[in-house]
Amino acid sequence: MHAFDSLQLAQLAFPTEMSTSVLAPYLFVSAAMFAIGLIGFLTRKNMIIMFLCTELMFQAAGLALIAFGRHHLGSDGQTFVIFVLCVAAAEAAMALALVVLLFRHRESLSASAWKELNG
């Protein structure tokens, strides 16, 4: 237990406040993950990967929410992550169904195969 104490494991240290200097690295990780997810969404042509990238961005948002929640010593952040999870699940279900549908039509997973909005 003492070893863990020295490591300031979260659960035991919970009631203590978390300083902004601790918060900042989490946020940076969150931002980086979000950006990577974004880049992936923008660059990859495979629709499945694109959806994966959106999940990545959800993840980044979730991390930020939890980090902020911890900073504020509240539970709202976690609650919201639950909703994010819900949405992510719903999105995955719908999106993948769509992907399957679209794949059946074009025999391709490329997002560029669908250009009907071309003006």
Binding site: S19, P25, L38, I39, A97, L98, V100
Partner: protein
Amino acid sequence: MEQIISPIALYLICAIGAAGIALALPRRARTRSLEYAGGLLVAIALGGAALALGLGAADAGNPMPNVFFYPFALVAIGASVRVITHKRPVYSALYFIMTIIASCGMYILLSAEFMAFALIIIYAGAILITYLFVIMLATQAPTGDGDDDLDDVDAVAREPMLASAIGFVMIGLITAAMFSGIGELPESKMTQAQAADAVLAHLPKKVDKILEREGVLADGWRVVRDHETGLAMIDVDARTIQIELLGEDEHGEEGVLATRMLGAEDWPDALAADNIDRLGFNLMHDHPIMIELAGVILLMAMLGATVLARKHTELEEALKAAQARKLGTMFDDKSHGNGFDDDGHPSGGHA
């Protein structure tokens, strides 16, 4: 406001990272070295970021995150880079699981252990498996180790430079925004004790149970409930608890026979709200409607997915195209006035 990280360093890190990602994104060129170089650059950037943040905090004498944070962060970001740079979707999905697991580690560091496990169960266990199913459904199995068998869809990234630039500009901006505003974040309104245990007041039965288990409460005693709100009369700051004895009085009527105040010395260690208590209470007490909505969303998604993925007995594309062409010529003819006979029937239809 103190700068957590020097903006120049931040922007430099972003630039390096952008370059790295741009290099690492898939392309047809058979130069793996470029991808490695990209990976290296990303690593340098991340290392630089960690260093800068750590140094900044250390200089100011501020606390640093738990040491476990660094491996988790490294794995999370590295895996997510691989998610978007790997050419094979299955690997991407697996790397994504890795990202999630690393994130879960960070969740635990942030004392959100329930969410950590929920995430693993739901994401890694359910969602990603679905992804894998779909990937396997829609992609043919690789025939070799090289990229040659891959479609352009997977093998070539679309405008990597632009996207990387935009992405890292976003990082720069978001982090700049966060870091410039982070010092002004309001402190929590709750005391630590409140934050931890305020929820206990809402859970009088749980308090009764723990107190009984710990032997603090004698038989027949229980925590006093507020008449109107039904909250337990607990002062988490002062660590005092009001308890009462219920029973029949001399007239044989049910009522409060005695009340007493338990002091801080009587407060058992076990009397504390855990994370799940708080989360559950928050979820149910503060966001009931959103739960309903989430349920509806999930239901609709289920229905939608069912409907969308249903296999239609549809016309072949070629047949459709042929029909469309036919219709097109028919209307063309009409516009020239010779496709219809006088009664307005398409003249070509009977041929």
